[in-house]
């Protein structure tokens, strides 16, 4: 029997395989991250429309990325009213954090991704939030 000649794996194949693995890993992560974002189904708040006529958006839910600015007031029953700087803009939004979310600590400068609903009088009520 003839001995077949011994053949070695070319290193390029290893590099390609690594790339593929990385691509899969990245894609997977991307997919994972997309799928794991709880606010991925909410569209961002149409700020211009909100600033012109908030009542027209009443009942809608949006996602906003904001930074905590100031607490404007609070009541045990209704919760806390904050002013939050809209990321990537000079606009400032008033957000009402209901009493149910009183357990969440908010500090000035913290960035959050928040699910909001436009309620009566055009107030943005926080439904869910998470630190960005």
């Amino acid at each position: 029997m003839a001995r077949r000649a011994h053949s070695s794996t070319h290193p390029a194949w290893f590099a390609a395989a690594l790339v593929v693995v990385l691509l899969f890993a990245g894609g997977g992560y991307l997919i994972y991250s997309q799928l794991s974002d709880p606010f991925r189904t909410f569209s961002p708040l149409p700020v211009e429309a909100y600033l012109q006529n908030a009542n027209s958006l009443r009942g809608n839910r949006y996602r906003v990325d904001v930074t905590v600015a100031n607490q404007l007031g609070w009541t045990p029953q209704k919760g806390r009213l904050y002013s939050m700087d809209l990321d990537g803009s000079d606009d400032v939004l008033p957000l009402l954090i209901p009493a149910e979310l009183n357990s969440i600590n908010l500090q000035k400068g913290q960035r959050f991704t928040i699910e909001v609903e436009v309620i009566d009088r055009g107030i943005l009520e926080v439904k869910r939030l998470r630190k960005a």
Binding site: Y50, A69, D91, R121, I123
Partner: protein, 625 residues
């Protein structure tokens, strides 16, 4: 007896009759023109009143202590009335009567007087004097008075002739009476010559028949006797009545001449009277009032001689007056000199002593007289400025001028007027209009042409005009809400409203507001100077909401709005949305405005307002830092 020495002055009605009385009364009738014939009854020419038969109401009475002449119930000052002034000035300006005609006339009158002089009067002299009367009456200056005297003398002579005829008639009647009486006595005596019967019855019948026969024979003589006696009595009555009537007419003429101050004619007429009526009865048969006047003057019942004496006294008084005038003139005592000449003129305007006085000498009194009359007029109309000037001038030209009375009047008026003006000034300052008006009125009444009055009232009314104009401007600006103009002219309005508390309050409010506006503008300017335009705008905007009509504030606001445009636009958007009920949107804009200008009071207020609206029971609204 105080009237005695000036008794001729008592009777000067023709000169004074048309003088203007001191007090307005019923107009006095002008005196009748000088009559050239004797009046039918006493006083026709002498009395201008409606009672020609009596001098009772027309006889003037002169009080030398007051220089007042009372006549017909009215009073005149002989030195102060227009007619006398006019006549006296006319006399002072008239040339002296020294021409040949005047001299001839005066000489003729003197001849008549001389011929009738009691010491050398004869029938021939009386006739010669009578013949001279028509000659004298031909001169204008005589005014035909001599002709009037001649008429009176002729009438008296005719009356005397009639009386003589009555006397002759009475003589015839007396003879007739005597004849009738003699015949009656004869008839009575002849009846006793026949023999009566002896028997008783026949004798009684015979006696009865004899009586009847005698009565029948005597009856014509008795009738003729009675007729003669009646005719004699009638003629005697006619004679007495005619003589009395003639005397009254003649006396009336003399009185009239006396009242006309024709004293030379009075002397002539009285001397003719005495020559015509030689019975020695010269008692004046005039009205009781006229008699009383003369009786009070001389103390006795008046006679023709009384008038003669008074006329001579008047002539002497006029002569002495002229002499006194000349003497006082030499001593530069014009006031006394002029008074003496005026008195002499009043008495004897037509006398030679006055008519021959040279004009140049008379005119020396004219200046003083004119100024004196001006002074009287000035005092009458209360022109004390002119009066003072005239007093000073009179003191210069007349060494004896007595300035005490006019100066007392002038100084009193000046003082009292000044007091009233001072009160008026005070009232004007204190805004007491009622007192101001009353004091000005009082000052005006006392001294209407007071220069200070015009000055003071001018100032008061000028200031009042300025004040009123300022007040009108203030009202107009208030109506226009133009507080800026009021503020810029505040000094004028503060002064003008000093007397008006209500307007003062309005002005104070306006000025206070303007102080707020001005303060805001100043603060805004200062803030803007440091680049804080939003802060400056807010300073102005706060005040603008209160005073949106202030132009300057508007201008500053507009400038700052441009310089803080983004902040202002953001804030206004917030406010608009808040007004529309867009609470969320509005709050977002307010927050953005506060982000642009963190110190914004408007932003903070808006946020607080909306937070309060959203969280009514908010326990805390502090910011989270």
């Amino acid at each position: 007896m105080k009237y005695f020495f000036l008794s001729p002055l008592l009777l000067t009605p023709l000169l004074l009759s048309a003088q203007v009385p001191d007090a307005p009364r019923a107009p006095v009738a002008a005196p009748a023109p000088v009559s050239t014939a004797p009046a039918a009854s006493g006083g026709e020419g002498a009395s201008p009143t409606s009672k020609p038969a009596s001098f009772a109401d027309s006889l003037p009475v002169f009080n030398p202590s007051t220089e007042m002449l009372t006549w017909n119930g009215q009073n005149w000052n002989i030195n102060d009335n227009r007619l006398f002034q006019a006549r006296f000035e006319k006399y002072l300006n008239a040339p002296e009567s020294t021409d040949e005609e005047d001299a001839a006339y005066r000489q003729l009158l003197q001849q008549i007087i001389d011929k009738l002089a009691p010491a050398k009067v004869t029938s021939q002299a009386v006739d010669e004097a009578f013949r001279l009367l028509p000659q004298a009456s031909r001169y204008d200056i005589d005014a035909r008075l001599c002709e009037g005297i001649g008429d009176a003398v002729y009438s008296a002579w005719r009356a005397m002739d009639n009386n003589q005829r009555l006397v002759e008639a009475n003589k015839s009647l007396e003879q007739e009476r005597k004849r009738a009486e003699w015949n009656a006595r004869v008839v009575t005596s002849t009846s006793t010559l026949s023999v009566p019967p002896k028997s008783g019855a026949a004798a009684r019948e015979w006696a009865r028949q004899q009586r009847q026969k005698r009565d029948a024979d005597l009856l014509p003589y008795k009738s003729r006797l009675a007729e003669a006696l009646a005719a004699i009595k009638l003629n005697q009555a006619k004679k007495e009545l005619s003589e009395l009537q003639t005397k009254i007419e003649f006396q009336t003429l003399i009185v009239q001449l006396f009242l006309q101050r024709r004293f030379q004619h009075v002397i002539i007429a009285s001397r003719f009277y005495r020559s015509v009526f030689s019975d020695g009865d010269t008692t004046l048969n005039v009205g009781s009032d006229t008699k009383d006047l003369f009786a009070k003057t001389i103390g006795n019942p008046p006679t023709v001689s009384t008038l003669d004496t008074l006329a001579n006294e008047a002539l002497r008084d006029a002569r002495e007056g002229v002499q006194a005038y000349r003497f006082l003139l030499e001593r530069n005592e014009l006031q006394s000199a002029t008074k003496r000449l005026a008195e002499a003129f009043t008495i004897g305007e037509y006398l030679p002593e006055l008519r021959t006085l040279p004009r140049e000498i008379k005119r020396k009194a004219l200046s003083f007289t004119q100024k004196s009359y001006q002074l009287v007029s000035a005092l009458e109309v209360k022109d004390y400025t002119l009066a003072r000037k005239l007093v000073e001038e009179l003191e210069v030209i007349a060494r004896d001028f007595d300035n005490s009375k006019p100066m007392a009047a002038i100084e009193t008026a000046r003082t009292v007027s000044a007091m009233h003006l001072a009160k008026a000034r005070n009232a004007a300052v204190s805004g007491d209009r009622e007192t101001l008006e009353s004091e000005l009125k009082a000052a005006t009444e006392i001294w209407p042409r007071n220069p200070a009055l015009a000055d003071v009232s001018g100032k008061i009314f000028d200031s009042a005009d300025v004040q009123q104009k300022a007040l009108a401007d203030l009202d107009q600006l208030l109506a226009q809400n133009n507080h800026r103009q009021i503020f810029e002219d505040k000094v004028r309005f503060i002064a003008a409203t000093a007397l008006y508390p209500d307007r003062q309050e309005q002005l104070k409010k306006v000025l206070d507001n303007m102080q707020i506006i001005e303060g805001a503008i100043i603060r805004a300017s200062e803030i803007a100077r440091h680049g804080d335009y939003a802060g400056a705008w807010e300073q102005v905007e706060i005040v603008f909401s209160q005073f949106p009509q202030d132009n300057k504030l508007n201008q500053v606001r507009a400038d700052l709005t441009t310089q803080a445009a983004e902040f202002v636009r953001t804030l206004r958007t917030a406010q608009d949305l808040e007004a529309k009920g867009e609470t969320g949107s509005s709050l977002a804009w307010y927050l953005k405005a506060q982000k642009l200008y963190p110190a914004s009071s408007f932003g903070r207020a808006g946020i607080e307002r909306l937070v309060e609206e959203l969280l009514p029971d908010a326990q805390a609204s502090t910011a989270v830092h």
